[in-house]
């Protein structure tokens, strides 16, 4: 480098790192509680029957999904954006007071929304639409947060020195646009208080769409919230952190290009696979199946690109737990993006839909891919942000194996549970009558629910190790010089 390196300003990235860790623990803890509740229903009243309303499965379930999606994952996305954005655009946040202000405002507003969401979901204030449970006042706040972020993105791009946008930036732009479009359309609702002239709860609203239309919009949103929350921005992360940490060049520009535009075009069509054999028109369902399968290749394109980037670098994979996280994340990404399309084939979906196999699929994507990637990103960022080495490499290794075991227990148990239950629902006996009453198909799942709860608990334990490691990294680890931060992150023993 001929120029003196830029002094990047990581203030906002740092704040979002903290919220990633805190909300991650909260969201996963709630998830673990839910898992034990399904295995042992007595856990529903663990805080006493007086508080059962707030600790029972159904009230907590949206809190879990929203805390891990909009808490953990979104914080991770924001945090990495405020880190990667500056570096690949070669411009520092410190250069623009306005962008700095926007970034801080973004974080503050985001926290406010998080508090409002947690409070309202616990009170049961929800629209019931999955991952869009928030009532209209929060929806408006979400839009404000999103626009603030968007202004930050395009502001930073506007003053960039590196004229050509790096792959990660493509994916962040897509994340911003995709979620904006989806969220706005799915949350079209009328506040009843105003429409009725001041009757009832002020925060209540009613959806603009009814029945089948509502379902169609919701799953167009729901599926693509996965696309633009769990896939696109996480791909953005791996395209930066894996080459950076390993010091390898990205395998193929062409593959990056085709995978990106392919993903953009194909993903949005696939939402219909959540509605197979429902009351939406047949052709639309078929289209959902078809595009889901075509989607395998753009998804695998990015993963293969990353695995090939590591070509000949096995010694790095073996030596660095950080790279292990990312390589395994790619693997789970491949597994998950093949599993989804297989479940979207009509005949398979007839069995898999409504069962735990779907839950397993979601979690091998979120735990194995999203979770691992975000934690790896934070591990890589920490030494650069806090100017200290990662506190403990061995702890990182321990965390890696505990969490990997957790994910494996999780998805294998749900795999068995889902296929078992799906088959039992369908089964007819020798007389042509249904072979099992519904409760038979629940009772048989008990061991698998228990294994799943153990798997989830292991993952949470890993998350706590991660938090501890990060805490030590922030506060008491060895200080490092800029020269140690070129590629492989410095790690203590």
């Amino acid at each position: 480098m001929e120029n003196r390196p830029l002094e990047y300003d990581y203030t906002v990235a740092k704040w979002f790192m903290l919220s990633t860790i805190v909300l991650g623990i909260v969201g996963m803890l709630v998830g673990v509680i839910l898992a034990w509740e399904m295995a042992f229903p007595a856990v529903n009243t663990i805080a006493g029957s007086g508080l059962a309303e707030y600790t029972n499965f159904s009230r907590l379930r949206p809190l879990h999904t929203d805390a891990v999606i909009f808490g953990f994952t979104l914080s991770g996305i924001f945090s990495t954006w405020y880190y990667i954005g500056q570096r690949v655009l070669k411009v520092s946040m410190a250069e623009s007071k306005f962008l700095m202000f926007l970034g801080k405002l973004h974080f503050a507003l985001y926290l406010l929304v998080v508090v409002a969401v947690v409070g309202s979901l616990l009170l049961g204030i929800t629209t019931s639409k999955e991952y869009a449970e928030f009532e209209w006042p929060i929806d408006i706040a979400v839009v404000v947060v999103w626009v603030t972020w968007g202004m930050g993105i395009f502001g930073l791009i506007g003053i960039r020195r590196e004229k050509s946008l790096y792959i990660s930036i493509w994916y962040y732009i897509a994340t911003f646009l995709g979620i904006a479009m989806l969220y706005l359309f799915n949350n079209m609702e009328i506040p009843t208080y105003f429409a009725s002239g001041g009757i009832g709860a002020w925060y209540h609203s009613v959806s603009m769409y009814s029945g089948t239309n509502d379902a169609l919009v919701q799953w167009w949103y729901g599926h693509n919230a996965v696309a633009f929350g769990f896939t696109v921005p996480i791909v953005a992360m791996i395209y930066y952190f894996l080459p950076k940490e390993s010091g390898q060049a990205v395998y193929s520009y062409k593959l990056s290009l085709l995978a990106f535009w392919g993903l953009m075009f194909v993903y949005l069509w696939a939402g219909g696979h959540h509605l197979l054999f429902s009351t939406v028109p047949d052709w639309m369902q078929t289209m959902g199946s078809v595009f889901s399968v075509v989607l395998i290749l753009p998804s695998w394109g990015s993963a293969i690109n990353m695995l090939l980037t590591m070509k000949g670098e096995w010694q790095q994979v073996a030596a660095s737990p950080l790279i292990k996280f990312m390589v395994l994340a790619s693997t789970f990404y491949m597994f998950s993006t093949l599993e989804g399309p297989i479940q979207a084939i009509k005949s398979v979906n007839a069995l898999a839909h409504f069962t735990d196999w779907i839950v397993g699929h979601v979690h091998d994507g979120t735990l194995g891919w999203v979770g691992f990637m975000i934690m790896a990103a934070l591990f890589h960022m920490a030494p650069r942000v806090f100017k200290r080495e990662i506190y403990s490499k061995s702890l990182m290794g321990t965390q890696f194996w505990i969490q990997t075991l957790g994910v494996v227990l999780y998805f294998t148990s749900m795999w068995i549970a889902g296929i078992t239950q799906g088959m039992m629902w369908r089964a007819h006996d020798e007389f042509g009558n249904l072979a099992y009453s519904f409760i038979d198909t629940v009772a048989v799942l008990h061991p698998y629910f228990t294994i799943r709860a153990v798997g989830g608990t292991l993952y949470l334990v890993g998350m706590l190790l991660f938090a501890f490691n990060m805490y030590k990294t922030m506060t008491s680890s060895r200080r490092v010089e800029e020269s140690e931060l070129q590629n492989a992150s410095p790690m203590g023993a």
């Binding site: 570096r87 690949v88 050509s164 930066y240 950076k244 060049a249 990205v250 395998y251 193929s252 520009y253 062409k254 593959l255 392919g262 047949d282 078929t286 289209m287 078809v290 399968v293 075509v294 395998i296 290749l297 695998w300 293969i304 695995l307 090939l308 590591m310 070509k311 000949g312 670098e313 096995w314 693997t331 491949m334 597994f335 093949l338 599993e339 297989i342 009509k346 005949s347 398979v348 007839a350 069995l351 294998t412 795999w415 068995i416 296929i419 078992t420 799906g422 088959m423 039992m424 369908r426 089964a427 007819h428 006996d429 007389f431 042509g432 009558n433 072979a435 099992y436 009453s437 048989v444």
Partner: protein, 310 residues
Amino acid sequence: MNKTVLAAIIVVIAMLGFTYVAVGSAGGMGGDGDWVNKLAVLGAVVLVIITAFVVTKYVRQMQSDTASGKLADENWDGIGEYKNELPLGWAVIFLGSVVWAIWYFLAGYPVNAYSQIGEYNEEVAAHDAKFDAQFANMDESTLNAMGESVFIVQCAPCHGLQADGMGGKAADLHQRLAEKSVKYVIMNGGNNNLLGTSMPMPDRNGLMNANTNALITDAEIDAVAKYVAGGLKGTEGASVFAGTCAACHGPDGKGMEMVAPNIAEMSPSMVDMVLHHGKKGAIGQMPAFTNLTAVQYKALDAYVASLSKK
């Protein structure tokens, strides 16, 4: 053998084992007709094998290959980019998936001809044809066995697997009438379509005891309720029954056609009426069950009627 390959083989075998466990605990693949089960399991198997195969391939490349290619001019924060061509296999399979997609859309589930409701109608017709023929003429034990199979799914959620009404939450089907039910009907009258027509029974204000020539009294109600619930045995309450109930329900309580139902035991036709019309009584409302086939009704009627005779 290479450790990675070995690991992949172990993973594949383990996952196939888990799938096998699942199929086993669900009681098998569900006969020759169920393509859904077979395809789902096939999908699961394919998923595991492909992922393991492909990932192993790339891990092998990490172990033995080296990175090469022409670097692009740009460089972002130290990250370079090769101008390598697309992996051939990936590109070919991508095109293959597009071809498959077109096939699925035009031929697999033809957009102009496929209807899921049509498919459903065929499924039901095939199912009914198969089982209706097989069970057209059942002997009594088959009839009861089939009835029990229907009972477990359709009735047990309320009446319990033992058909004992789960501690009073639903009727105990081992007896025709519980004491509480007899009293309820006498107090409130009844009209439950048990004869296939609407034939109301008056409440206590319309029930004369012929022995005393007066309206039935509280004490008499208690006595006769015990007597009926006890299966019309013994002497206590027998005279009240003879004086008040026998006129319509018959001296043996077996009812009269078009007049009053059998209150000594359940008959298949009565069970059938309850299933079709539902019933309201001392415990609450039982809804009608209109979703069974003719054979299923026949079997269930016989099975439930047999319970009260045991």
